[in-house]
Symmetry: C2
Subunit: 380 residues, 2 copies
């Protein structure tokens, strides 16, 4: 599939943002994080791995976004549709873009400057510099009125195609797990080889891999891999967020090392049943909380959840973004939202199984972007 | 090599922090980023890829650090030396750890709470929540007096061994580049395969890979790979930050696709010469700025740098951290500092070559952690 987006995609995003900005009375948006900057520009680089330099994108009330960035990024930014690119030689410990940013904002607006300050957000610049920017602004610095979360929460068809493509790559890698995982292979080796499979099947990179292999379920789903060899009776779980063209998939698969016990086989089947139930209610108009209860009824009998804290979340330019499937999140599902369904079930004291699929909300039934796993676990 | 650290390592770090905190009059440190939390705990997980949940570590004026974290992380944190682990079921849009953090800080100190706010830092939590925490604190929230930067800037011998190990993995992968790169192979395929080689040679994961393949030098060192095939006359550059046990290497290699022109061969040799010159002055007591000028004399004739902004930087738990080799950075080198030397040279209008090595400052001459590249480029 082709990389990047048509310019029309960015124009649509910008128009939507400027409409919401007008409603909220904002003179500009100030964006500092990789996905927020990329959302309006298409600026894609792994260079954000370095925390040294701040990057800024300003969305004015009218007209195209203005990039205020380190000069090392000018060549790549000039390949995007952005025309107004202002640079400084970062990093500069004396003035790391602060005066250039402040002057540019003041030239663009005397109104309020909104920046994401809510749930899941952070400001990717030093707090000390942020104070200096605020002190120099003509207008107030305030919250972005949830605009970025609202915009990014609903995906375009081009974005959905990219996420589906990432899901397909992971599916091909998962199908090859029997090549790399068997009794006696250290889990750390399985992790390395699974990342290799993801790359071979077309991932650009593999920002996230977690999992476990333990007897009768696992105690933890976020640990790095140990060198312990897989052994009969283990459940091996691999959960990957791989990236293609800047968009993630995020789903997992469970494998039985040797024949699974009836208890484990039933727990896995129950997770798949929870996915069925969630898919039945995942419609435009349903809330995230309703989706939570649909699954929680199946996996805990309706106890209100577990320490994982949620049974799924939004997905796209980040491994996790947007809504959380929790009793407290009343976000209303809309067509174009891409979410994970991630029920977990206790299999013993301190032991669990977790299963995850990726879906897109439509006008009717949700469409699975990850090819659904069958109720029966693959046996290694 | 064994994973993790002896508990003594963390005790030493904590003691050093508490000494500096006392000098600065701080009642506690509040840490929110992955490397800062890991520095005192050893808590290692790729779960930070998800931006959804904030994580907090408090370093009190005396006694062990206190973790205030999402409940999903409790099992893994309890495997570290940290004993006081307080959790909430994150994400919670109504109170995502704010009251638990505020109450815990207030119970631990009525003094000032320092958090990194300077150069290269950011606060990994929503700004709105940070305002709520500040409003609830008994003491003031202030800058950490540069304590984290100062501590993390000088590595222990155990940390240096981990970085050297990562460098060795990359060296083995670089040695195998002729297996995967040749005229006609798309650059995107080379990128995929090089990450695979890094994994095969022992990387836990490959958070960073950048590079280029262009005629007579490249215009950019941070772009993602295009599908353009390598062609005779290209210089292929691969720059990787791979991770083993939580520590990075960060260096690059240049390869000539077909015989290099005399001009390119000479430019590459000049970069190696710049490394020689830097190694001659990279001693305890030298400043980062002096190191800059030693290389800048060779690569620009002393013009004061380029748009890259720096000729190297600190390295360790992050791809880049700590000092920058710029004319403005007067950080004094100390034994145990691990840095990259990264001179770049213009090879034509908008074209350059960049070379990078990793060294550790000692009591005498620096020790190269990356095996030095010869002056002659490897030809593919």
């Amino acid at each position: 599939m082709s990389r990047g987006f048509e310019q029309r995609e960015f124009e649509t995003r910008l128009n939507a943002a400027q409409t919401l900005m007008q409603e909220a009375g904002l003179g500009a948006l100030l964006l500092t994080t990789e996905p927020d900057v990329r959302y309006f520009t298409g600026y894609l680089t792994r260079f954000w791995e370095s925390p040294s330099r701040p990057w800024f994108l300003i969305v004015p009330a009218s007209g195209k976004p203005v990039a205020v960035i380190p000069s090392i990024g000018a060549a790549l930014m000039s390949q995007t549709w952005i025309e107004d690119i202002r640079t400084w030689r970062a990093p500069d410990p004396l003035d790391d873009g602060v005066s250039l940013l402040t002057n540019t904002l003041n030239a663009l607006t005397r109104g309020a400057v909104g920046t994401p300050m809510g749930y899941e957000s952070h400001l990717r610049m030093p707090l000390g510099d942020w104070k200096r920017v605020q002190a120099g602004l003509h207008g107030d610095a305030c919250e972005d009125a949830g605009i970025m979360a609202r915009l990014r929460g609903v995906k375009s068809s081009a974005e959905i195609a990219k996420i589906e493509n990432a899901c397909g790559i992971a599916a091909r890698a998962f199908a090859r797990v029997p090549e790399i995982a068997a009794e006696g292979v250290p889990l750390s080796q399985v992790f390395r080889d699974f990342q290799r499979l993801c790359l071979e099947e077309g991932a650009d990179w593999v920002p996230y891999l977690a999992g476990a292999s333990e007897q009768g379920g696992y105690g933890d789903v976020i640990s790095p891999a140990s060198d312990r060899p897989l052994s009969a009776g283990d459940v091996l779980m691999l959960d990957t967020g791989l990236v293609h063209d800047g968009y993630f998939c995020d789903y997992d698969r469970n494998f039985a090392v040797g024949p699974p016990t009836e208890h484990i086989a039933a727990a896995h089947a129950r997770l798949i049943y929870a996915i069925d139930e969630a898919a039945d209610v995942a419609r435009a108009g349903t809330t995230a909380a309703q989706l939570f209860h649909a699954m929680d009824r199946i996996v805990t009998g309706g106890q209100g959840g577990s320490d994982a804290g949620r049974l799924g979340h939004g997905l796209g330019m980040q491994l996790t973004e947007g809504l959380s499937i929790t009793p407290q999140d009343h976000t209303v599902l809309e067509p174009g939202m891409v979410i994970t369904l991630e029920p977990g079930i206790e299999t013993g004291p301190g032991k669990m199984l977790v299963h995850e699929e990726n879906i897109v909300i439509t006008d009717g039934a949700p469409r699975f972007l990850s090819p659904r796993a069958p109720a029966t676990m693959v046996q290694l």
